[in-house]
């Protein structure tokens, strides 16, 4: 089981290695946000310093990669429902969840790697965080990716249409982003928005990230974020493996 998962991951990483341009373009967006948006936040931080703004905004930039990167991971699989690859794998000796999970592990690794690059840029801009905070943040990104990528593959297998899928993803992206406090902290929002945000899993990722970066390891949002994403990750994986079975009609 593990062997098959790693085989698929290795294969997908090979494909990625041959097309390195795409994941690099993928992190341009969060990097630009760091460069061009984080300075704007200095007006709401206590001392008006960029390092304070970076502590608030860098975790958000990382969650952004998960949103705009991993949520689109499934697009490639839509083509595989048509070109016969999934059909062939379904009747091969492959352990079926590995077909999805192998790709998800690749997406998680990618996300961690991209996060490291974005953290590097933030460090150059003056962000200073502890190693423990960084390690936990990367782990948090991995579980966020587990959820986002599984959701994306599940959607791809259920919808099986590029146009439909991009509409659905776009439809969910904006509210998920605004209600996670990604751009501005939710503490600035009116009461009702704060209540709604509690139902958005990404809200916990952003909040947990900010707590970690502020060296506040006792913040309750940290275990909640890990728990929520692990549970959702397992649920969405189950869903996408089920959808794989439905390909056969």
């Amino acid at each position: 089981m593990l062997r098959h998962t790693l085989l698929f991951t290795g294969y997908e990483l090979g494909v990625m290695r041959r097309n390195l341009a795409w994941p690099i373009i993928g992190i341009m967006q969060p990097v630009l946000y760091l460069l061009l948006f984080a300075p704007l936040l200095t007006s709401i931080t206590p001392n008006g310093e960029l390092t304070e703004a970076l502590i608030v905004f860098t975790p958000a930039a990382l969650v952004m990669i998960a949103l705009f990167g991993s949520m689109f991971a499934g697009f490639g699989m839509i083509n595989e429902t048509r070109n016969g690859v999934l059909e062939r794998l379904a009747v091969s000796q492959a352990w079926r969840p590995a077909i999805i999970l192998g790709r998800v592990v690749k997406d998680m690794l990618m996300l961690v790697l991209q996060s490291l690059l974005v953290l590097g840029v933030a460090a150059l801009m003056g962000l200073r965080i502890s190693l423990a905070a960084m390690g936990l943040m990367l782990l948090l990104m991995a579980v966020t990716g587990l959820f986002a990528a599984n959701l994306s593959y599940g959607l791809a297998l259920a919808v099986r249409d590029e146009n439909g899928m991009s509409q659905i993803v776009q439809f969910f992206l904006l509210p998920l982003m605004l209600l996670s406090g990604l751009m501005l902290p939710m503490s600035l929002a009116p009461e009702w928005m704060q209540t709604v945000a509690k139902f958005n899993p990404l809200y916990y990722a952003v909040e947990a990230g900010r707590a970690l970066f502020a060296d506040d390891f006792s913040d309750g949002d940290i275990p909640i974020a890990f728990g929520v994403f692990l549970v959702l990750g397992v649920l969405t994986l189950t869903w996408s493996v089920r959808s794989l079975r439905k390909l056969a009609g």
């Binding site: 041959r18 048509r82 059909e87 000796q93």
Partner: protein, 319 residues
């Protein structure tokens, strides 16, 4: 028997908008038995249920009813055992366009349980057999249709299966590539591999297979060797065009040397064993009834005639 299927059925529930659904009976009771080391064909028009049948036998689609044993194992209850013993090459090919063929082949080998070294060696073996060595490291999307098809076949054979399913293996190939693929399929049989293929090409079934079934509307309408099926019908066929089709049909049906008469569109097809000798008598009989002939031809009967006999229409029209 490498394949034994009894009364296989598959009903799909298709969505028809506004919450309405419609049941589509794709396969309506198919019995099959395929011997070890034979090339067996499912011949039929598009939509006859060939692909669904193969997908059920290859453990992709679960049958609605009926049972099938492939390589000695039940396709539903022992799917994992079946999968170890089959190769499956679907209609779409199933080769990843974005990677070189070598990568796909090595991955397939390793999933089948080989070490990296074994998988690489097996890939080399297959590249040599299918003349793919020179293009093994090029991204598959840069290859021609025939080359892609050979990669699909190679991937299907990576685990040295005793049985391989080929779903419309030559559709879309040019005549040269088609002939080459036929040779490769024959070579498989010569090495002891059983082959079940589907096709809507009559000449393909005729030239390639040891035995076949003709499938139409989810059912088998005829079964046997190509020779036996054609012989059942008669060796030769006279195709006639004339104004009074019905009158001519009655006259010809009454002739003792004519085994069968079929109407196909605006022409009549009369089947007889010895066309060269029967033709003059046929002409005299029509002449005697004053039936004017607009055109006439004499040919060997083909599997299309078998299809026409069993379904009342030509495979060319059905497809």
């Amino acid at each position: 028997m490498i394949i034994e299927a009894h009364d296989l059925r598959k009903t799909f529930v298709a969505k028809r908008g506004r919450g309405k659904t419609e049941e589509v009976e794709a396969v309506r009771g198919i019995d099959l038995s395929v011997d070890e080391g034979e090339i067996f064909a499912c011949l039929g028009p598009n939509g006859a249920g060939k692909t669904t049948t193969v997908r059920m036998l290859a453990t992709f689609t679960v049958p609605t009813a009926g049972t099938a044993r492939v390589a000695g194992f039940d396709v539903v209850k022992e799917a994992a055992e079946v999968r170890e013993r089959i190769g499956y090459v679907g209609q779409a090919g199933g080769v990843d366009d974005n990677a070189p063929g070598r990568e796909s082949l090595v991955l397939a080998g390793r999933i089948a349980g080989m070490s990296r070294k074994e998988a690489l060696a097996r890939a080399e073996e297959l590249f040599a057999a299918f003349s793919l060595s020179e293009i093994a490291d090029r991204p598959v999307k840069t290859l021609s249709g025939g080359q892609k098809r050979r990669f699909s076949l190679a991937i299907g054979l990576v685990n040295r299966p005793p049985l391989v399913f080929l779903d419309e293996p030559t559709t879309g190939l040019d005549p040269q590539n088609r002939a080459n693929l036929w040779d490769e399929i024959r070579a498989l049989r010569d090495r002891g591999t059983s082959v079940l293929l589907t096709t809507h090409y009559l000449d393909e079934a005729d030239a390639l297979c040891d035995r076949l079934v003709i499938v139409d509307h989810g059912k088998i309408v005829a079964e046997g060797t190509p020779e036996k099926l054609k012989k059942e019908l008669a060796g030769d066929v006279v195709t006639l065009r004339l104004d009074d089709l019905e009158g001519a049909r009655k006259v010809l049906a009454a002739q003792p040397y004519i085994k069968e008469v079929q109407t196909e569109g605006d022409s009549l097809r009369a089947y007889l064993d010895d066309g060269e000798h029967g033709l003059p008598a046929l002409l005299r009989a029509l002449e005697a009834e004053n039936l004017a002939i607009r055109s006439i031809s004499l040919d060997r009967a083909t599997l299309d005639d078998v299809f026409l006999k069993h379904t009342g229409r030509s495979l060319r029209d059905a497809a």
